[in-house]
């Protein structure tokens, strides 16, 4: 089992969700995040003072999947999030030692989906 963590542009969340649904990945968790990446930030002005904003708004996805679902999930995220521009985001994959469904106390593979 793997835990997939993805950072994407906020406005792409709907597209990514669609792509994941099509790939039959229907469970996920979403948080707000600020990110610093290759997209160096941009210049805002406030009251005439130029300000470099280098923590950009991002969406953080966390998706736990069984091993055979890793590639489809990654592909779906890329499909939904890619625009070709800097700032499109990144995907991190971590080994998942265990997964437990609270309601049923099921563990492992069956609990994930």
């Amino acid at each position: 089992m793997k835990l997939i963590i993805a950072y994407i542009q906020p406005e792409k969340l709907n597209d990514v969700k669609q792509a994941l649904f099509q790939a039959d990945v229907k469970k996920m968790s979403v948080t707000n995040s600020l990110g610093c990446g290759q997209q160096g930030g941009y210049l805002e002005t406030y009251r005439g003072v130029p300000t470099e904003v280098n923590l950009l708004k991002k969406i953080r996805l966390e998706i736990a999947v069984n091993d055979d679902f890793v590639d489809p999930t990654v592909d779906a995220i890329i499909r939904g999030a890619e625009t070709g521009n800097i700032g499109d985001g990144k995907i991190f994959i971590v080994d998942l030692a265990e997964c437990i469904r609270i309601r049923t106390r099921e563990k492992g593979k069956v609990a994930i989906g």
């Binding site: 906020p10 406005e11 792409k12 969340l13 709907n14 707000n32 805002e44 002005t45 406030y46 708004k57 969406i59």
Partner: protein
Amino acid sequence: MKKVVKCMAVLIMLMPAASPLLAQETAVAPAATIQPINVVWTLVAAFLVFFMQAGFAMVETGFTRAKNAGNIVMKNMYDFAVGSIVFFILGYGLMFGDSIGGLLGGSKFFLSSASPGSPDGLWQYAFWLFQCVFAATAATIVSGAMAERTKFVTYLIYSMVISAVIYPISGHWIWGGGWLSNLGFVDFAGSTVVHSVGGWAAMMGSIFLGARIGKYGPDGRPRAIPGHSIPLAALGVFILWFGWFGFNPGSTTSGENLSIGFIAVNTNLAAAAGALAAMATIWIKSGKPDVSMSLNGALAGLVAITAGCASVSPLSSIFIGLIAGIVVVLSVELFDFVFKIDDPVGAISVHGVCGALGTLLVGVFAEAPYAGEGINGLLYGGGFRLLGIQALGVLSVFAWTVVTTGILFLILKRTIGLRVSKSEELRGLDIEEHGMESYSGFQIFTNQ
């Protein structure tokens, strides 16, 4: 004084009811003691109507998304700023200047009718301010329907044109001594003059813009795009209701005219009834007393009673409010589900539809003891005569507004463009158009 047509019209309209009193007063008290109360009343009412700008700003901000909040308040502030200046230069003259064939005014530009040297000259200033805040109300209605996707600079130009030309001309027909007023059309405080003009302009703007991204699914079904601050929206409705006590009773532009009392009562009762009816309607239809629709209901009642507030009884006001409250819900759904015109705050239904409705209902509910001798609606023995005139007025103003704003928005679309780019819309107009966020530090899901 004879040029102050609206005020005159009102006085005449109310004469039969209040005339024993008014006549007497005029006879006994010297003219000089009469003026101050009228100036004070008109100014205080104008201040209240000005404050409605804050109400519109809060309603529209509250009903839209956080990422566009700064843009909305800018539009609300600047349609008033631009409107004040152009109404001073041009609009007031077109509306209240000496009538050219009953179609438009042709004098009083730059407020040249006013002067600091005489009581009447001084009175003109107060009257101008009252009219100016009305013009701005018509303009600002549109910002809500066009919210979250309109280019800021385009909006500034639109608001200049409506305040300078479009609103004043139809206003002239009704309040400036134009052809509709001569026919006996009754629109005491502007259900048609102000609200319908704003509402139909909002409709055209919304049509030319198209819906917000995400408003209609691939299947064409509407989706909810919830507003980001119900408390601010509710505050806005309270402010509007408060300001309407200037809008309607103030439209006597005379504090001596004791009718201001029942006008205020009618205004309040129609608002209350509108709120109740809208809540009941949406409750029945969707199973929950939806907050935002309920707030719209109060406004619908207020808009609808605006035309007839000086012509109907308090009980009729309750009925007018109830009808408007039901109609506004149906109308919002009609525009949303059937016409698929995306109006984030319900401006078309509240101001356009209920403005027209309220104007027509004068032809049903008007009663001579309130409206003045001989002015009776369908229910009070007046037959279809008044209703017919009202319908003619409603249609004329609809046609005028749809055509002129249609041309305006078409030109704007073809030239500088109406709408921001897709990515600007997604990221929010605050960042893209104004370079800042409205809620700095707050964590907000901007994907919505």
